[in-house]
Symmetry: C2
């Protein structure tokens, strides 16, 4: 079922007049950049989920909180929906524009307002790049832990909006675990101060509610993050396996042994070969799977854990276990992993990156299921993922120029996500729902639960002016999508195995 | 200003008929224990904040989720408010009953439903005691980290409702950081499954929203918690100081050195002497302050950190630094701390325990402020607290039999909380808001923010049937309380210093 906005399935949008909106915003905000020409708006027609594109009606680039307040008040008065965008690197289409809406781009809020090494916090504007925080903190031996692979470009406001993750979130948590406070502007133009530099805050936990809320509750104008001391030492172990499921079981064994690695990543043979071909990382191209296990902390601790991890891996049936001998080799091992997506991208004209999360113990079962789906559909699937926290990134390879292949890839992707839900997992680990997974939300949640989500949304935005159609499906959409499951007592994709 | 429910300040409650409610509940739920006689209801008239007592109209003790659903539907139909209670150990009056309401006691939901040592999770009913989880997990070398000092009695449902903390939450987090999933029943009797055993969950973060929601959004019927491996080694250092502020600064120095202790507690001279007198812990009674610093982890790591902490403490001006020589001495050091409240309780007929949280760097300033308030008011204040995470527990000593002393103690307490807010902290660290801090919420949040809290509440319970009057004050109450601040341009308690 199509994920593009459909008034029949996603609810009606107000009728909007582009010229009036432009004039009113121009008059109210003479100093603000407001893009209306085709060539100026074009770069904003998609985010990182570039298979889907919509030209925004207008693009606003405010520079002050006062401008954001005025913009929101004006749009609310005109009943023009507002979609907020950070750096545009999101992978689930959370910042996909609306033809009849204003795209509010926060990239000019790019100042670090405060960096307190004693309190270990940084207070920054939402457009500050993820990596820029760690760069500024490096002088004090500190860094910001969540590290999405887009960290050179993605901004912290978007990280909060999508509750971004990264290689190290097994040990150090997602964005929600590393954000202490957020300032946000409501649709009415009111300022909310959520959380605090202190450990706990009274009242309902609206700070957590804003993490992952995809611009649907308010506009984030300031973020206070935790900084951590750089670990004294870090080592990487590369383990090879002759069987994917064995590697999956080894992941659980490491955690069960009481070790929380800084990163614990897995790649299957297709991904290994693609990465090796592209980066020459030194990966064993004959292995059916590899695990990369990074251990960090104080020197003595790391040495001890390396020894214990080697023992667990040997017990789990690893065919080869290599400790990176120096920082150069360690960087090379990671370079293969970090470039795995573009490397796999060289194998086929197009690929579709999934983001399901499952309980670790289900890794072997789900990997088997993905292999069956791949065989049935005739589409190759490479597996590259954050194994330690059960966050899978199957990459489905296809050729959009061949009729029907995009749709087939979407169906395989949908089935993979549903499989994640079946084993007790979830349809997203770090990319968010956006528009991409709007249908799978109907698999994840029952109508009662979706109704509660809408009620919470209405507490902030009863008229659905902020990013309408994202994150939470209407019951109408679920009824249509769910009908595919239930009617005729058949599965949605009868051509695919049900496991 | 009084914290007891006042319809003028807290909004009207529906008129309720006790006899009809009893008959209808009895008819709908013949198998459920329903207490209506005075002597049966008496034990439930307060929780751990025993200075405030209200006799509940009826007390229900269901044993099944189906009974909870029927009870909620019946009460909703009759428009009878419902206050939910766990073990009744809460310190902020979150489970203070209503004269015209049903008290729903969840203590019979006391089964551990699942304990999976590989996944390191326990799925339990809400009435399971906090310590019972760790006891059941001990066979696998695991435990549940948050450890309120009431952990022998308090139940996990109440821990979630109040987002409980404990000595170890500096390193291991509050309840919200250790709960993976919650099942709850809404007022309409619908089941919500929030969170999952996987790392992330899509949709708004309602799981976090339920942590600390004090029974106002729904009834928790199941909780899935994280289990952690017991640390291999734990050591305790006791450091003495001749000055409270120096001890406060040493706390920040330890954290700034890149060490996160398992526990980092502070006691001032009054608390030291009371504890020593009561427990004979081996504390230095001449010290103006002591720090207890526990380091846990693998052996080599702990030894290394002990050395570094000793250096930091010496640098910070500690007059004596002692490492507990064995587990017996370590246990004795902790016994003094853990019994500090009852020990201080022996110094005066009554004491009032506060729970403000501040950024660590403000510890010296706030300690100075508390000393000034104590001097001005003539009431002794002992300080015993989780220094590492800035969670203060000043104990205000008074004699309720002396006219005006309770009120004076309340005013000192209110000023201490306001001081916490002034320095960027919050009015609660781990005890919650309940009724106790209902007025201070007006200091912590602006009317815009309180309006948003009410909107979120209304998304779940528009008619205020669940625990009305707790957690979030009405704007009417804030106007009255705030007026004390603003009118005549005077402070609320002009007799107390403003610092």
């Amino acid at each position: 079922m199509n994920i593009l906005f459909d008034e029949r399935l996603d609810g009606p949008l107000p009728a909007v007049d582009a010229a009036t909106t432009f004039e009113r915003l121009r008059a109210a905000l003479p100093g603000m950049t407001l893009l209306h020409r085709d060539e100026d708006r074009r770069p904003f027609e998609c985010d990182g989920l570039s298979a889907y594109r919509v030209m925004p009606m207008l693009v606003a680039l405010p520079e002050t909180v006062a401008q954001v307040v005025t913009l929101l008040r004006t749009c609310r008065e005109l009943r023009v929906p507002v979609v907020t965008r950070g750096a545009g690197t999101g992978l689930s289409g959370g910042a996909l524009p609306l033809e009849q809406g204003v795209l509010l781009v926060m990239s000019r809020f790019d100042r670090i307002l405060e960096l307190d090494p004693d309190a270990r916090i940084a207070r920054v504007q939402p457009g500050v790049r993820n990596l820029a925080i760690s760069e500024a903190a490096a002088a004090y031996g500190l860094y910001y832990a969540p590290d999405p692979s887009s960290q050179i470009a993605c901004s912290i406001g978007g990280n909060v909006a999508e509750n971004a993750g990264g290689v190290h979130c097994l040990k150090y948590g997602l964005t929600v675990h590393n954000v202490l406070a957020v300032e946000a502007i409501t649709l009415e133009g009111e300022r909310l101060a959520l959380g605090s530099a202190a450990l706990d805050a009274p009242g309902y936990d609206l700070l957590a509610l804003f993490n992952g809320s995809e611009g649907m509750l308010g506009i984030i104008t300031e973020v206070t993050v935790k900084l951590l001391p750089r670990p004294e030492s870090a080592k990487v172990i590369l383990a090879s396996f002759d069987d994917v499921e064995k590697a999956g079981r080894a992941v659980g064994d490491i955690i069960a042994a009481g070790i929380i690695p800084g990163g614990l990543e897995m790649m299957d043979n297709l991904a290994i070969r693609a990465a090796e071909d592209f980066i020459h990382a030194g990966y064993p191209v004959e292995a059916q799977a590899i695990l990369l296990c990074e251990l960090d902390g104080v020197e003595a601790d790391v040495a001890d854990e390396c020894q214990r991890v080697r023992e667990v891996l040997a017990q789990a049936g690893a065919t080869d276990i290599v400790l990176a001998r120096d920082d150069a080799e360690r960087a090379r091992f990671w370079a293969g992993r970090k470039n795995a997506f573009p490397a796999v991208g060289r194998l086929a004209p197009d690929y579709y990156c999934m983001d399901g999360t499952i309980p670790r113990r289900e890794l072997p079962r789900v990997l088997k299921g993905i292999a069956a789906l791949s065989a049935e559909s005739g589409l190759a699937v490479a597996n590259v993922f954050h194994a330690g926290d059960g966050n899978m990134h199957p990459l489905i390879l296809f050729d959009a120029n061949r009729p029907g292949e995009l749709e087939r890839a979407e169906r395989v992707g949908a089935r993979i996500l549903e499989l994640c839900v079946e084993v007790g997992g979830s349809i997203t680990g770090e990319h968010g729902v956006g528009r991409e997974k709007i249908n799978q939300m109907c698999t994840q949640f029952r109508p009662d639960e979706i109704t509660v989500f809408h009620a919470v949304k209405a507490a902030f935005d009863p008229d659905r002016m902020l990013n309408p159609g994202k994150n939470i499906p209407t019951l109408a959409r679920c009824a249509e999508y769910g009908a595919m499951h239930v009617h005729n007592n058949r599965l949605p994709h009868p051509e695919l195995p049900r496991f």
